[in-house]
């Protein structure tokens, strides 16, 4: 049971926070489409993309069960490490002030301007608005699908909590979008990315090791230890990164 919780909780949290980051970015564009081109095109485009994404999860998720677990853990572990450590590196560089933070309000303004430049909305169905909403939901949603399938494929019974986390994030972001009705610029996007980067890197290392037959000290409890390890390394690196430009110019 202890081992189960060591898997389940990080799986649920990683899926929830990672999906939330992606859905917040998609919401910004969908709001821009709704404001400029109309809500019918925005919602139908987003809805169509969500349907395609659900089919992808339904097909790909169980299909992974046909591949030997050791291979899945190796491949998914390596991909999760590439994905998670990339996010962690970017979040660390942003937190250190090396690269600018992502700004949802600026993204909304840019998207709104671009959509206004695509001509007026006619009387019929607005293909421009539909395509814009469909494309952004697919783009961000593909990332969510990868995260859900990757963290759900590493062990038996993890796909359900991974799906649950993503659906909960979708519900939260959609509800906030309806209530707030503007980009969710107040969400601490970089902190979420940092957290998700830590979680996915830890899962990736654990599963890649499992795929190689590594006997982790403490068994499943190596996952919280890896989470703590990646968090500590990233926090120290961020601190050192803040000093780096001064050191380089000295």
């Amino acid at each position: 049971m202890i081992g189960t919780w060591a898997h389940l909780l990080p799986t649920l949290l990683a899926s929830f926070f990672a999906s939330m980051v992606e859905f917040v970015e998609a919401l910004t564009v969908i709001l821009a489409v709704g404001a400029v081109r109309g809500w019918r095109a925005a919602l139908s485009g987003a809805g169509a993309a969500l349907a395609v994404l659900l089919v992808l999860v339904a097909v790909l998720g169980p299909a992974l069960g046909e591949i030997p677990l050791g291979w899945v853990q190796l491949i998914v572990g390596a991909l999760l490490l590439l994905f998670g450590m990339r996010w962690l590196r970017k979040a660390s560089l942003r937190a250190a002030g090396i690269i600018p933070l992502h700004d949802e309000a600026a993204a909304f303004a840019k998207q709104t301007e671009a959509l206004r430049g695509r001509g007026g909305v006619g009387a019929g169905f607005d293909q421009v608005g539909f395509a814009a909403a469909f494309q952004i939901t697919m783009l961000e949603g593909i990332e969510v699908v990868f995260i859900v399938i990757a963290i759900g494929a590493g062990g038996v019974g993890l796909l359900a909590p991974a799906c649950l986390g993503a659906l909960a994030a979708l519900a939260v972001v959609a509800a906030l979008g309806v209530v707030v009705h503007r980009p969710l610029a107040q969400i601490p996007e970089n902190t979420l990315k940092f957290l998700v980067g830590v979680l996915l890197s830890a899962f990736g290392a654990f599963w890649f090791g499992e795929g190689l037959g590594v006997a982790w000290p403490g068994g499943d409890w190596a996952i919280p230890a890896l989470i703590a390890g990646f968090a500590l390394v990233a926090l120290i690196t961020t601190r050192l990164g803040r000093l780096a430009p001064a050191r380089a110019s000295a």
């Binding site: 390596a78 994905f83 590196r89 090396i98 090791g209 990164g241």
Partner: protein, 68 residues
């Protein structure tokens, strides 16, 4: 079809945005595979060694980018 290419590019971009960083991770994972397969590392050290290599890659690459 252009949007399909955009989605494909975005998918690859999930894993690689700094080639040297992604390359170092892949090389280390391959090296760990060989080292463990050839039994060159004692069993109890394999997990910590895998993590340590990843941590070194992260710190080195992030600080190198910070100093640019």
């Amino acid at each position: 079809m252009k949007w399909l290419k955009t989605i494909w590019d975005e998918f690859i971009g999930l894993f690689v945005d700094d080639v040297s960083f992604a390359g170092a991770i892949v090389v280390w994972l391959a090296a760990a595979h060989v080292l463990f397969h050839m039994d060159l590392v004692p069993g109890a050290w394999r997990g910590p060694l895998l993590f340590a290599g990843l941590a070194v890659i992260f710190v080195e690459n992030t600080l190198r980018r910070a100093r640019k």
